[in-house]
C-alpha cells in the first residue's frame, strides 16, 4: 500500500497537532504559542469548509429514496426541496435579499424553523408523562429512593409545592448540594479520567475509531 494511503499518516498528524496545542500551554515559548493560536484560526476556517457534508449526505440518502421510489419517497422529495430552496435563500447574496439577515431567510426561520424545532422538543413532554405512568415503578428500594427524590424536587419546582408545605424547597436544596452534587462530581471525575485515557491512547496512536470508514 502506498505510504500516503496508510493509516499511520493521519495518526501522525493527530499526534503532531495535538502536541502543537498542548505544549505551549505548559511550556512558555512565545513564538510557539503565537503559531499555535494562528493555527487555531486557520483550523477553524478549514473545518468550516465541511459545511456541505450534511447537505450531501441527505442529498444522497433521500435522492436514492426518490430515484428508487421507495416507500415514503415523496417525503424524501419534500426534504430535498425544502433543503435546497432554503440553502439557496441562505447564500449571502445581498443584492437578491438572500443570506442570513435577509427578509425571507428570517421569515422562514421565525415562522417555520422555530415552531418546528420548539414543537419537536416539546413533544418530549408527552413521552415523559406516559413514562411516568407506565414505566416508573418502585420495584426496589433504590427505585423508591429515586422516585421520592424526584417527587420532592418536582414539588419544590412547582409553586403548588410551596403552598402545600414550605419544607420542599430546603429539601430540594439539600438533595442538590449533597447526593446530586456527589453523584455528578464522581461522574465528572470519572469522565475526565476516561477522557484523559482516551487522549493518551490517541497520542500513542492506539485509538483509531475516528479513522474508520470507507469500507475498511
Amino acid at each position: 500500500m502506498a505510504w500516503y494511503r496508510r493509516v499511520e499518516l493521519p495518526i501522525a498528524l493527530t499526534i503532531i497537532f495535538c502536541l502543537f496545542q498542548m505544549v505551549p500551554y505548559f511550556v512558555v515559548i512565545p513564538a510557539w504559542d503565537s503559531a499555535a493560536k494562528t493555527f487555531v484560526d486557520w483550523d477553524s476556517v478549514m473545518e468550516t469548509f465541511a459545511l456541505f457534508i450534511g447537505f450531501i449526505s441527505l442529498l444522497m440518502l433521500h435522492g436514492r429514496n426518490v430515484s428508487r421510489r421507495r416507500e415514503g419517497w415523496h417525503w424524501s422529495a419534500w426534504v430535498l426541496v425544502t433543503m435546497v430552496v432554503y440553502t439557496i435563500i441562505g447564500i449571502p447574496l445581498g443584492s437578491f435579499g438572500f443570506g442570513v439577515g435577509g427578509a425571507l431567510f428570517e421569515d422562514i426561520r421565525m415562522f417555520v424553523l422555530t415552531p418546528l424545532s420548539a414543537a419537536m422538543y416539546a413533544s418530549l413532554g408527552f413521552w415523559i408523562a406516559s413514562a411516568a405512568y407506565r414505566a416508573f415503578r418502585a420495584r426496589t428500594i433504590e427505585a423508591a429512593v429515586l422516585l421520592v427524590s424526584g417527587t420532592i424536587v418536582m414539588l419544590a419546582n412547582a409553586p403548588v409545592g410551596g403552598s402545600i408545605w414550605g419544607g420542599f424547597t430546603p429539601l430540594k436544596d439539600w438533595i442538590f448540594d449533597v447526593p446530586n452534587m456527589s453523584t455528578m462530581r464522581g461522574i465528572t471525575i470519572g469522565a475526565a479520567l476516561g477522557a484523559l485515557a482516551l487522549g493518551a491512547r490517541t497520542l500513542m496512536g492506539k485509538e483509531r475509531g475516528y479513522l474508520r470508514g470507507g469500507g475498511e
Binding site: S117, S130, T169, M181
Partner: protein, 289 residues
C-alpha cells in the same frame, strides 16, 4: 376480559392498560385550563435566583460583560425568559455588554431580545458604544479558544450591521479574554458550561454565571460547588423568580400555574401507575395461588 389471563380484568388492570392518548389529553387539559383561568399561586424566591441576581447587581460600573447565547429555539420556553431578563438587568446598569453565540440559533434569539428590549429608547444605550452583538462562531470549543486569544478572529463582523468589530467604540481596549470582567452563558447543552470552564474559567479565572435548562441542573452542581461557576439559574421556576427580582415579570411567571398543574398530574401518574402495579401484582400472585 383480560387478554393475559382470560379472567375478567380488575379495575387496576384496566387502569394499567389505559389508552395513552387519554393521558395526553389530560396533559392538554391541565395546561390549557390554568392559562384560561389562572390560579395565581404565590412563588417564593430561591437561593440560586437570588445569588444570580445579586452577583449581576454588584458588577462594578464600567465592567465588560459577555452574554453568550448558547441556545436553540427548542429551549426558548425556559431560556428565553432568562436571557431577556438578564439582558434587561445588564442594560439597566453602567456596564458594557458584549453579546455572542456559539449556537447559530442563539444569535437570532439574541437579535430578537435586542429588538424586544429596544435599548436605545428604553435604556438610553447606544449600539456599538454600550452594547454590541458579535454574532455566531461555528467552531464550538475551538471557537471559544479562538475567542479567548483574539476576539477579532473569532468574530470578524458584528451581527446587526455586519461591520468589522474594530470600527466600534465599545471594542477599544478589547482583544482577549483577559480584557473582560464577567462571562454569562445562557445555554441549552454542548457547547456550554463545561467548554467555557475549560477554555475561559480555568485559564483566565473569569467569573462565570450560567442560565441553563432544568435538565442541566445536575451537571452544573460540581462546578458550582467548586466555585468555577459563581451563580446559576436553571429551569422555568428559577427564571420566574429571576424575572421577579429583575423587575420584569413576563413569560416565566405567566407559566407557573400550568407548571404546577402538570407537575401534580405527573406525580398522580406515578402514584396511580405504582398503585396499579402493586395491586395487579398481588392479584396475579393470588391467581397463581
Amino acid at each position: 376480559m383480560s387478554e393475559r389471563s382470560g379472567e375478567k380484568e380488575s379495575i387496576w388492570e384496566k387502569i394499567q392498560w389505559i389508552d395513552t392518548r387519554i393521558l395526553y389529553l389530560l396533559m392538554w387539559v391541565v395546561v390549557i385550563w390554568p392559562l384560561i383561568s389562572p390560579i395565581n399561586l404565590p412563588i417564593g424566591v430561591g437561593r440560586e435566583s437570588k445569588e444570580y441576581y445579586d452577583y449581576i447587581k454588584d458588577i462594578p460600573a464600567g465592567s465588560k460583560v459577555i452574554l453568550s447565547y448558547d441556545m436553540s429555539f427548542s429551549g426558548l420556553p425556559e431560556l428565553g425568559p432568562m436571557s431577556i431578563a438578564t439582558l434587561h438587568q445588564l442594560l439597566g446598569m453602567d456596564v458594557k455588554v458584549y453579546i455572542c453565540a456559539f449556537w447559530n440559533q442563539g444569535s437570532n434569539i439574541a437579535a430578537d431580545d435586542i429588538e424586544a428590549l429596544n435599548p436605545e429608547v428604553d435604556y438610553g444605550k447606544v449600539y456599538g458604544v454600550d452594547y454590541i452583538h458579535f454574532g455566531y462562531n461555528p467552531r464550538s470549543e475551538v471557537g471559544m479558544t479562538q475567542f479567548a486569544s483574539d476576539v477579532y478572529t473569532a468574530f470578524p463582523n458584528d451581527f446587526i450591521n455586519n461591520r468589522p468589530l474594530g470600527t466600534y467604540e465599545i471594542m477599544e481596549g478589547v482583544q482577549t479574554a483577559a480584557d473582560f470582567d464577567v462571562l454569562i452563558s445562557i445555554e441549552s447543552g454542548t457547547p456550554g458550561s463545561s467548554e467555557w470552564v475549560r477554555q475561559w474559567v480555568q485559564p483566565y479565572g473569569i467569573p462565570f454565571l450560567v442560565g441553563a435548562l432544568g435538565v442541566s441542573v445536575p451537571g452544573v452542581a460540581p462546578y458550582k460547588n467548586a466555585g468555577q461557576i459563581v451563580a446559576f439559574i436553571a429551569g422555568l421556576r428559577s427564571a420566574a423568580e429571576y424575572e421577579l427580582l429583575a423587575g420584569r415579570p413576563a413569560i416565566a411567571l405567566a407559566q407557573q400555574d400550568p407548571l404546577s398543574t402538570t407537575h401534580i398530574l405527573v406525580i398522580l401518574f406515578v402514584i396511580v401507575g405504582n398503585l396499579g402495579y402493586f395491586f395487579t401484582r398481588q392479584e396475579r400472585a393470588r391467581r397463581l395461588g
